[in-house]
Point group: none
Chain length 126, copies 4
DNA sequence: GTGGTCTAGACCACG
DNA sequence: GTGGTCTAGACCACA
């Protein structure tokens, strides 16, 4: 379901958050779909339940999911959620651009890379 | 000399490292040029000397600069180091582009963000 | 009979309790009127019977209803219970007003919100 | 500095969050002011550091404060933060109105209570 | 069974 | 010293 990289330095809870956001963005999950329970996912990913809990709370405060005590957690079908997701993605990409610029890359180089990656995506869907 | 953003969340240490890499990449500094002393730069940037020291160590282990006891720190002539740094930056940015695309952002949106960030960079450096 | 909002975050149990208190307060039900059976209401509201059972127990311990083994549950004639409930509600709301004022909201803003919520109540009950 | 009620049932971390929001709203703290460290506040309030940490993260994600590793946490001077705070206060008050209505109180009763509380505030600043 | 909060104690990165 | 993440295990409210 979710692939974690325990060595990457990226916080596990962030990886979980991004994973579910991606699932929603890619259409693999829709509004109303139930997420695995905190405890179940903790077992599946070999992670502490608190870590999952934190991830779910981040997702909820971002409007991507909503949780009901005693019932479970569900993907939100609120359009605002998708907007929040896009905003988060923009923020991440903006940070990437900034750090690339800090390392001396130019605007045109960055655009060239984007074009390359987009080309690959279309061509052999790498 | 270097512009720091204390609120951006990017570690001061990394900002300093990136700043010197950028100076080299942009041709503002060449192999053999001397860097400011740890103490002087600490005063100039209002930063703890330990932070500068750590940045210089990171730069040295990356091969971008070299230090001589009792003399100071100097930009390295080693072109390979520069190339490695740039290649790493490209790889990071390429990954960022790909994950942005996965989250549903379009090529034109990405280019728009780049333009925005480039504009901001010039305008305000908080 | 009762309108439940499963996403509001307000416990189903409390919504049921409040619903019956409201029915009594609004005069839709009078002392001696029989409440639906636990099982029937559970089916009607698509809710776990345990949840209904708990709500009825809360209502009984608050003196709003009384239960007779083998017969069912009935609204109490005890006016004191109703008064206590209303006084508690007033106290809670008074506290909410005070904390809203402390956070800088004005009297007119609060009244505006009330008008909004009253409007919504009539329109959609999700 | 902050008064906690350990018996109220209101989560401690929420009380801390509201306390700092109130300090900002009341003008007791301004943008740039430093908050007590996680550990120090934990000792002062006799609470686990994780609880403070959680509260600070909630405040940060709400834009009320910002935190810098190794430096500390500071009140944000971002105007958007104040807006977010007001929105949160509105949401809370809206919930209070809704639950009051559920208990049978009428629109005019609620407005009457508001007027009463506002009157007290002005008169003897209770 | 579910989610939510809290404690206790550890480790890391940063300054 | 600072904030940030994670683990382990407990307790509560809700269904």
């Amino acid at each position: 379901m979710l692939q974690l990289n325990y060595k990457s330095g990226v916080p596990i809870c962030d990886q979980i958050v991004n994973g579910f956001i991606r699932m929603k963005a890619l259409g693999l999950s829709k509004g109303g779909d139930q997420l695995p329970s905190v405890r179940a996912l903790a077992v599946e990913l070999c992670v502490n339940p608190n870590t999952i809990q934190k991830a779910y709370q981040m997702l909820e405060s971002a409007g991507v999911i909503y949780s009901v005590k005693g019932k479970g957690s569900f993907f939100s079908d609120d359009a605002a959620a998708d907007i929040a997701v896009i905003k988060a993605a923009k923020k991440d990409f903006r940070a990437a651009v900034q750090s690339a610029l800090e390392l001396g890359m130019t605007e045109s180089e960055l655009k060239k890379i984007i074009a390359e990656v987009c080309g690959k995506e279309e061509a052999h869907n790498d």
